[in-house]
């Protein structure tokens, strides 16, 4: 029937970056197709979390990957979606010029580059400011929203940008340059471990196509497992998608603080903090409001 | 003869300045009417009103009994501006233009024949593939005349069409106009500032001044130097 054929389609936003490696593996190995024979997977390549969110509002996408804060902003504004799975944690941190030893040294004419307000980098910075100055918005007017590569160019060019909140592999490239060091890591700011990227699905997919939803979750897990068990082979596959050598990819995949895991970590902490500091209008009272049943999560 | 154009009580203002004041004029089918008068006297304005190109501020013009409120294919105007040729068309294409777009649907051979005839008539055969910017002033005028004649309209409105022609071409074209006029019974309204030309061509001459028709002259005996002097007398203030 017509309904059947509709059930067999899933639209997933694909993004690039080491943190998204399982998504490429899933795509390349046809894991979802294997787990749900006959399904048609539409990969929409998108480059921007906000656009993904808008596409999901408009029912042009069923699944997107993003950090927890952008997800919470959508949820707070009434989007019908929940987290289906964790994906990865990668090292992230604030890289600054050597003159700047700590957050205390950042002055009013310094500028901090990060991807955008409301991004995980922004919230982490706010968390650190809260701890340090008891004023989470202290740096909000010093922000310059540059994508990671532009942010790196800006930092290394040595103009106004004196610090850059970024992650793998830009963080590593910046730290390898003399004159720059890390003054804050994501973990320090957050006060523990957290999922950097999670997978989010719409209620529509979850409710109307539970089989597809299940197959998707299972596929993500398999992809994560694949990377964790066969990093060499995974790196080989990823050379197709990334303009990097196999050695470099392998290095990033297996770095000490890079972790691929389906467990969602840190959501409560983000939510409460963002609510306290008015980035959200509300926090959740029960975890079921933000994650689907059967999703692994860890709270502190 | 029947009346083809009837002008009643026609007035025109520009910025509250009265250019034409309550003009009454009838033009009969087949008449060759010349309009003369001082520069700025309203000759072009009158022609534009007859052609339906501008709106009057009172009174009316009727053509074959119907009120004129827009231009008419049977009433073709040769404008005073001599940059009235389409710069993107050659001499030949400019002349063909009205034929190609005529509802009569001339055949290719007819178009070629008619265009050829009129190009020869204005002696531009050699220049038929020239673009307007490559022509001399007089050549442009001749092309415009040929374009107006080629569809043989019922009325020709000509605003100083021979203004920049040398005397020979002018004389020849004057004679051609007279021939065409006699043969086709076309009604011609012809603005000129050359009194001799008016006397040579017209059977009716009107003198337009101060916004009114100051004299209407039946021109039976053509081409006399006395006539010239008489008219210059009329023109003098």
């Amino acid at each position: 029937t017509k309904n059947d054929s509709q059930e067999k389609v899933i639209r997933i936003a694909e993004q690039y970056g080491i943190a998204y490696a399982p998504v490429q593996i899933m795509k390349d190995q046809g894991i979802l197709e294997k787990n749900y024979p006959g399904i048609q997977v539409i990969w929409e390549q998108m480059s921007n979390t906000t656009a993904i969110r808008e596409a999901m509002v408009s029912n042009k996408l069923d699944v997107g990957f993003m950090a927890i804060p952008p997800f919470l902003i959508g949820w707070d504004n009434g989007m019908d979606w929940k987290i289906a799975t964790g994906l990865s944690s990668v090292p992230t941190g604030l890289v600054a010029k050597d003159e700047i030893q700590s957050l205390q040294d950042i002055e009013n004419d310094d500028r901090i580059a990060l991807p955008q307000p409301g991004s995980v980098q922004h919230i982490l910075l706010a968390m650190a400011c809260k701890k340090e100055f008891n004023d989470p918005k202290k740096m909000d007017n010093l922000l310059v929203t540059l994508s990671h590569p532009d942010g790196m160019t800006a930092l290394l060019a040595g103009n106004e940008i004196t610090a850059h909140f970024t992650s793998t592999p830009y963080r590593e490239a910046e730290l390898a340059t003399t004159g720059y060091h890390e003054i804050l890591t994501g973990e320090e700011a957050f006060g523990g471990d957290f999922s950097f990227i999670v997978g989010v699905t719409t209620k529509k997919l979850h409710d109307e196509n539970p089989e597809v939803y299940k197959a998707f979750n299972q596929s993500v897990e398999e992809a994560i497992l694949f990377i964790n068990e066969n990093p060499e082979e995974a790196a080989e596959i990823l050379t197709k998608y990334y303009d990097l050598s196999k050695e470099d990819i392998l290095k990033y995949l297996t770095a000490e603080d890079t972790e691929y895991s389906a467990t969602v970590k840190g959501i409560k902490n983000f939510s409460d903090f963002m609510n306290e500091t008015d980035y959200l209008k509300k926090s959740y009272t029960s975890i079921e409001e933000v994650v689907w049943e059967n999703t692994d999560y860890a709270e502190y | 003869m029947s009346v083809i154009i009837k002008i009643s009580n026609l007035s025109k203002l520009y910025n509250d300045r009265s250019i034409l004041k309550n003009i009454d004029l009838t033009i009969e089918t087949g008449e060759f009417l010349c309009i003369i008068g001082p520069s700025g006297g309203g000759k072009s304005t009158l022609l534009n009103l007859i052609g339906g190109f501008i709106k009057s501020d009172g009174g009316s013009v009727s053509f074959q009994g119907e009120t004129v409120n827009k231009p008419n294919r049977e009433c073709i105007m040769v404008f005073q501006e001599f940059d009235q040729l389409f710069p993107w068309k050659t001499v030949q294409e400019n002349i063909e233009f009205p034929l190609k777009n005529d509802p009569h649907h001339y055949s290719k051979t007819e178009i070629a024949a008619l265009t050829g005839t009129y190009i020869d008539m204005v002696k531009l055969h050699e220049f038929k593939d020239f673009y307007p910017h490559q022509l001399s002033g007089g050549m442009k005028q001749r092309t415009a005349i040929a374009r107006a004649l080629v569809t043989t309209p019922k009325v020709l409105l000509m605003d100083e069409p021979f203004g920049s022609l040398d005397i020979l071409t002018k004389t020849e074209l004057q004679d051609t106009m007279l021939e065409i006029w006699k043969k086709t019974q076309t009604t011609i309204v012809f603005v000129t500032h050359d009194v001799r030309e008016a006397l040579h061509l017209a059977d009716q001459i009107i003198i337009l001044g101060d916004g009114t028709v100051q004299q209407r002259i039946e021109n039976k005996t053509k081409d006399s130097e006395e006539r010239v002097k008489e008219i210059i007398g009329f023109l003098s203030p």
Binding site: R53, I73, P117, V144, T145, T153, N159, I161, Y279 | -
Partner: protein
């Protein structure tokens, strides 16, 4: 029927059309099953606007953007004028300008970003640079096209009085190519808007509180759709005011008065 038609012919006809569009908007928002997150109702937009005016900096941000646009437009117009004028004067320079236009006109500011960051940084100057880059090339195209379409006889008159090149350009070329210049200016103005909004979205609150583009971007990342439209509304209103009070006045005093349109 005639009466209805007449409504659209008045000077305020624009506002009639806007009214119709607003009604259509409201009808879609209310009567179709679109998510208010993507298509907020007018009340929500107006409420967001009032809220931004009362509790936020939207008016100051608008002024900041307008200031940048104005400066960018002036620089762009002057530069394009200088380049078009020099092309008139010197064929060598003309080939240089042609080359620049065909190289730089199709390049989006976003592709130049790394270079801009490297050379100019990320402050207001970078936004200005992007605005100028947006305005300059179409202005040059329209100016040179305008200069080329001037009747030869006007140029000859200038030469006849042995005018210097500067005089020929100021006294003859510029007034004679007014319709082109005005069309170019309108394109430039709209492009400057677009560029400044996009640039602010990238470079953030460079002037402290930032401009209207930064306002919209913040609304967007925090999913305040009504706020986005409030920002767009402000842009549209300012655009129309400029159209009605600046461009039409310029047209009335030039091309319309001279009978060129």
């Amino acid at each position: 029927m005639q009466n209805i038609k007449a409504i659209f012919l008045k000077p305020y006809s624009k506002y009639v059309w806007i009214g119709i569009m607003l009604i259509a908007w409201e009808a879609i928002a209310k009567l179709t099953p679109v998510s208010p997150l993507a298509f907020p109702s007018l009340e929500a937009v107006v409420a967001a606007l009032i809220n931004s005016i009362l509790t936020g900096d939207i008016l100051l941000q608008m002024l900041f953007s307008l200031g940048l646009i104005f400066v960018g437009l002036v620089i762009g117009v002057l530069l394009s004028f200088v380049m078009s004028a020099l092309s008139v004067v010197s064929p060598v320079f003309e080939s240089f300008v042609d080359t620049c236009v065909s190289i730089f006109h199709p390049l989006p500011g976003i592709a130049l970003l790394p270079l801009i960051i490297l050379w100019i940084g990320t402050g207001s100057k970078a936004i200005l640079f992007i605005i100028v880059h947006s305005v300059l090339w179409p202005m040059i195209l329209n100016m040179t096209a305008g200069f080329k379409s001037i009747p030869v006889v006007y140029k000859k008159i200038g030469q006849n009085y042995e005018f210097s090149n500067a005089k020929i350009i100021f006294k003859i070329y510029i007034p004679a190519s007014m319709p082109y210049l005005i069309a170019g200016l309108k394109i430039g103005w709209a492009r400057a808007w677009r560029a400044s909004i996009s640039a602010e979205m990238i470079f953030g609150a460079s002037g402290g509180i930032g401009g209207i583009g930064w306002y919209i971007f913040n609304k967007r990342v925090f999913m305040d759709t009504a706020g986005i439209f409030a920002g767009l509304l402000v842009i549209i209103v300012v655009g129309m005011l400029v159209e009605d009070f600046i461009f039409s006045k310029i047209e009335d005093r030039t091309v319309k008065k001279w009978g060129l349109s």
